[in-house]
C-alpha cells in the first residue's frame, strides 16, 4: 500500500485530503506542524509527501530543504496559498516536485500525487508504446496498430505526454503547464478540450476502442489497460 505523509496545519483541509486519498487506496499519515512532520518523514519513509508552505514550527520549504540535504528523494507536492509565480518557482527550486495553489480541487491533488508516484522513466528508447499506440520519437510518426495517424506537431507533443502517463488522470491544469507551458489560466476555458477533441478524433477512429477518455469535471485519461 502506498503511504503518504501529509504535513498541513489546517485540520479541516487535512481531513478532506485524508478522506479523499484514503478513498483512492492510499495510507495517509498526518502531521500538523513542520518539526513533527520532518521527524516523521525521516522515521517512516513515506512514498510521497504533501507539504503545506506555511507551517507552525518550521516552514514547509525548510522541511523540504532539510530532507533534500539528507538525500531523501521522496517526491514532494507543495501546497500553498501563495499563488504568485515567483513563489511557485521558489517552491520548486527548494526541492518540491510539484506545486499546487490553494484553493485546489481534490481531484487535482490526487491526480498530481499519482503523477508524482508514477513518474515516467526517461527512457532512451526511440519508440514509445502504450496499448495499440506507437510513437516513433525520431521520425515523429504515430501508429495505432497498423493504422498510420497523421498528427500535427502540437498533437504529437500532447499524445507523447499522455502515453508517458497512460492510465493516469491528467487534469487540464497539468496539461496546460506541461504540454503548452502555460503559466496562467487562459481566458478561453475550453482551450484544452478543443485540442483534445482534435487528437481524439485522430486517435480513436470509427469502430475502434476508445482510448482517450474525458473524465467529467476533472480532465482526461489515456486508457490502455482494459
Amino acid at each position: 500500500m502506498t503511504r503518504i505523509l501529509l504535513i498541513e496545519d489546517d485540520a479541516e483541509t487535512a481531513e478532506s485530503v485524508i478522506a479523499e486519498l484514503a478513498d483512492r487506496g492510499f495510507e495517509v499519515q498526518w502531521s500538523p506542524d513542520g518539526i513533527d512532520g520532518l521527524d516523521r518523514a525521516r522515521s517512516s519513509c513515506p512514498d510521497a509527501l504533501i507539504v503545506d508552505r506555511m507551517l507552525p514550527g518550521m516552514d514547509g520549504l525548510t522541511v523540504i530543504e532539510a530532507l533534500r540535504k539528507d538525500e531523501v528523494g521522496t517526491p514532494v507536492l507543495v501546497l500553498s496559498a501563495l499563488g504568485a509565480v515567483d513563489d511557485r518557482v521558489r517552491g520548486l527550486r527548494m526541492g518540491g516536485d510539484d506545486y499546487l495553489t490553494k484553493p485546489f480541487a481534490l481531484v487535482e491533488l490526487v491526480a498530481r500525487i499519482e503523477a508524482l508516484l508514477r513518474r515516467p522513466t526517461d527512457s532512451r528508447e526511440t519508440t514509445l508504446r502504450a496499448g495499440p499506440l506507437e510513437l516513433d520519437l525520431i521520425d515523429r510518426t504515430a501508429r495505432r496498430g497498423e493504422r498510420e495517424i497523421d498528427l500535427l506537431p502540437r498533437e504529437f507533443r500532447l499524445l507523447e505526454y499522455m502515453m508517458r502517463r497512460s492510465d493516469q488522470l491528467l487534469t487540464r491544469a497539468m496539461l496546460l503547464e506541461e504540454v503548452w507551458n502555460y503559466k496562467f489560466v487562459p481566458a478561453t476555458t475550453n482551450l484544452i478540450d478543443v485540442h483534445m477533441g482534435r487528437l481524439r478524433h485522430k486517435v480513436d477512429g470509427p469502430g475502434e476502442v476508445q482510448l482517450i477518455h474525458n473524465v467529467r469535471g476533472s480532465g482526461f485519461l489515456l486508457r490502455v489497460r482494459q
Binding site: 504568485a84 509565480v85 515567483d86 484553493p103 496562467f184 487562459p186 478561453t188 482551450l191 485540442h195
Partner: protein, 474 residues
C-alpha cells in the same frame, strides 16, 4: 497664545542670534575705531608738546616768559597749558599752579593731573604733559588738554545709538515677520493636511505662484496627492467591481445549492446541483486569481524572470494554440512575421499578453471573419499587431477597456472574467512597452516593443500620465 508662538520658533531665534551677532560686531568695530582715534590724537598732542618744549628750551631765558605768554594768548580754545618755574618751583609764567609731582623732569610726555590757575568748574580735564629742567635750573612744563577723545567717544556712542539700535530692531522685526509668515504657512498646511487625513482627498496644499522652496515642496506634495487620489479612486472603483463580479457566480452557486437541497430527489439531480455550485465557485476563484496576478504584475515584482525572448516564436506558439479554437468558430487565424525579433522581457508574461489579445480577437470575431497576428519590425522597435474583422473598440470605450472588469455592454453575454486587457496593459507597462488600441471598424490592438538596448531600460514612467487621463474621463 498663538501670537507669541513665533518667539519660540526657530526662524525667530535664528533672527535673534543674527541680530545679536551683528550688534556685537558693530560694537566691536566702533570700539576699535574709538581706540585707534584716541591713540592717534594722543600721539599727535605728545609730539606737539615735545616740539613746544624743544622750541622753548632753545630760546634764551629772557624771552621765555614772553614766548609762553604769547603761546597761551594764541590758544583761543584754552586747551594749551604751559608753566615756567624757577629752580625752587616758584611760578614765573604760564597758567599752571605748580609742577605736578608725578611728572619726571626729562621731557617725556605722560598723562597727568594739572593744577591750573583758572580752574574751570565742571571737571578735571584729561591732560597730557611733559616737563624739562632748562639750562639755568628753571623748569618748563608744557601740557595739552586731550579731552577731545571724550567728545569722540560721545559721538561714537551717539552713532551707535542712532545706527545700531534701529538696525537691531529691524533685525528683530524681520525675524519676527518671517517667523510669523512661516508659522502661518505651516499652520495652513497643517490644517489642510488634517482635512486630507480626515478623508477629504481633493484638498491640496497652498501653492503660491512664487518659486521658493516652500512652494516647490508644496508642489511636490500636491503631485503625490494627485497620484494617491487617482490610485485610491481607482481602488475604490475596483473594489466595487470585484464585489459586483464576484456576486454573480456566487449567487448562482447559492441558488443552485438552495434549490438542490429542497428539490433534488435523485442522486443524479444532486450531482448536477453540486456541479453547478462548484462551477460558480470556480468562476469566483478564477476572478480572485486573475486579480492577484494583476496585482503581482502591477507591483513590479516580476523582473526576476527577464531574459532574451524571441517574439516571433511566441507569436507562432500562440497561433498554434489558438488555431483549433479559431477553426471551430470558423474564423481564419493567420500569422505573418517579417523577421526574427528579440526583446528583453519575461517570456511567460509576453506569451500571456499575446495569448490574451488573440483570445479576445477570436472571441469577438464573428464566424467567417479573420484574425491576423503580425510582427512588423523596424530599426529599434517592433510592432506586435493583432487585428480582426470583429466589431473593434469604439472611441468612447478605448480607455475603458483597460479598466478592470470592463466589458462592453454588447459583450455582456460572452464568458470571461473581464480582466484580460488590463492584464495585457499591466504586462506591457512592466516591460516599458506601449499598448495601442486602434479605432474601429475592425479590432486592432498593437504592442510597440523596443528591441534595441533593452537591457538597461527601466519600465516607462509615462504610465502615470496615461492613468490620469484615464481617470479624468471616468
Amino acid at each position: 497664545m498663538r501670537q507669541f508662538h513665533f518667539i519660540r520658533s526657530n526662524t525667530f531665534l535664528w533672527a535673534l542670534a543674527v541680530a545679536a551677532a551683528f550688534a556685537l560686531f558693530v560694537v566691536g568695530l566702533f570700539a576699535f575705531i574709538y581706540w585707534k582715534i584716541d591713540d592717534y590724537l594722543i600721539v599727535r598732542s605728545d609730539r606737539m608738546i615735545t616740539t613746544q618744549i624743544d622750541f622753548l628750551a632753545r630760546l634764551p631765558s629772557a624771552r621765555r616768559v614772553n614766548a609762553i605768554t604769547d603761546h597761551l594768548e594764541q590758544d583761543s580754545r584754552g586747551v594749551q597749558y604751559a608753566g615756567l618755574f624757577d629752580a625752587a618751583g616758584a611760578r614765573l609764567a604760564g597758567n599752571i599752579e605748580r609742577v605736578p609731582q608725578e611728572l619726571e623732569l626729562d621731557g617725556v610726555v605722560q598723562g597727568v593731573r594739572l593744577d591750573r590757575i583758572t580752574q574751570s568748574t565742571d571737571h578735571d580735564p584729561v591732560v597730557r604733559a611733559g616737563a624739562r629742567r632748562l639750562e639755568g635750573g628753571a623748569i618748563l612744563v608744557m601740557g595739552r588738554n586731550v579731552d577731545e577723545t571724550r567728545e569722540i567717544s560721545s559721538v561714537v556712542g551717539q552713532a551707535l545709538a542712532l545706527g545700531l539700535l534701529p538696525a537691531f530692531c529691524l533685525c528683530l522685526l524681520a525675524g519676527a515677520g518671517l517667523s510669523i509668515r512661516a508659522q502661518r504657512r505651516v499652520e495652513e498646511v497643517n490644517q489642510r493636511v488634517r482635512r486630507i487625513v480626515a478623508g477629504d482627498l481633493r484638498e491640496r496644499l497652498p501653492q503660491d505662484n512664487v518659486d521658493d522652496p516652500f512652494a516647490r515642496l508644496a508642489g511636490i506634495v500636491n503631485g503625490m496627492l494627485d497620484e494617491m487620489e487617482t490610485m485610491i479612486n481607482a481602488l475604490t472603483g475596483v473594489g466595487n467591481d470585484i464585489a459586483h463580479d464576484l456576486r454573480t457566480p456566487l449567487t448562482r452557486a447559492r441558488l443552485a445549492l438552495e434549490r438542490g437541497r429542497t428539490h433534488a430527489a435523485t442522486l443524479e439531480q444532486l450531482h448536477e446541483v453540486v456541479d453547478k455550485a462548484v462551477a460558480g465557485i470556480d468562476q469566483s476563484l478564477a476572478i480572485v486569481t486573475a486579480l492577484l496576478r494583476l496585482a503581482e504584475i502591477e507591483n513590479n515584482r516580476r523582473m526576476a524572470g527577464f531574459g532574451d525572448v524571441a517574439l516571433d516564436e511566441i507569436l507562432r506558439e500562440v497561433c498554434d494554440v489558438y488555431e483549433p479554437i479559431a477553426e471551430d468558430k470558423n474564423v481564419a487565424l493567420g500569422v505573418a512575421i517579417d523577421r526574427e525579433v528579440q526583446v528583453w522581457g519575461d517570456r511567460d508574461l509576453l506569451f500571456e499578453a499575446v495569448a490574451n489579445l488573440v483570445d479576445n480577437a477570436v472571441k469577438f470575431t464573428p464566424a467567417g471573419g479573420m484574425v491576423r497576428l503580425e510582427l512588423v519590425s523596424a530599426d529599434k522597435t517592433a510592432l506586435v499587431r493583432v487585428s480582426d474583422t470583429g466589431p473593434g473598440i469604439n472611441e468612447q470605450e478605448r480607455e475603458a477597456v483597460l479598466r478592470r472588469f470592463y466589458r462592453s455592454d454588447k459583450m455582456r453575454h460572452t464568458p470571461g472574467v473581464g480582466l484580460g486587457l488590463s492584464l495585457v496593459a499591466a504586462i506591457v507597462k512592466l516591460h516599458g512597452f506601449r499598448l495601442i488600441i486602434c479605432p474601429a471598424p475592425g479590432g486592432r490592438v498593437e504592442i510597440l516593443v523596443s528591441t534595441g538596448a533593452t537591457r538597461d531600460r527601466a519600465p516607462a514612467p509615462q504610465s502615470r500620465i496615461a492613468r490620469h487621463a484615464r481617470l479624468d474621463r471616468t
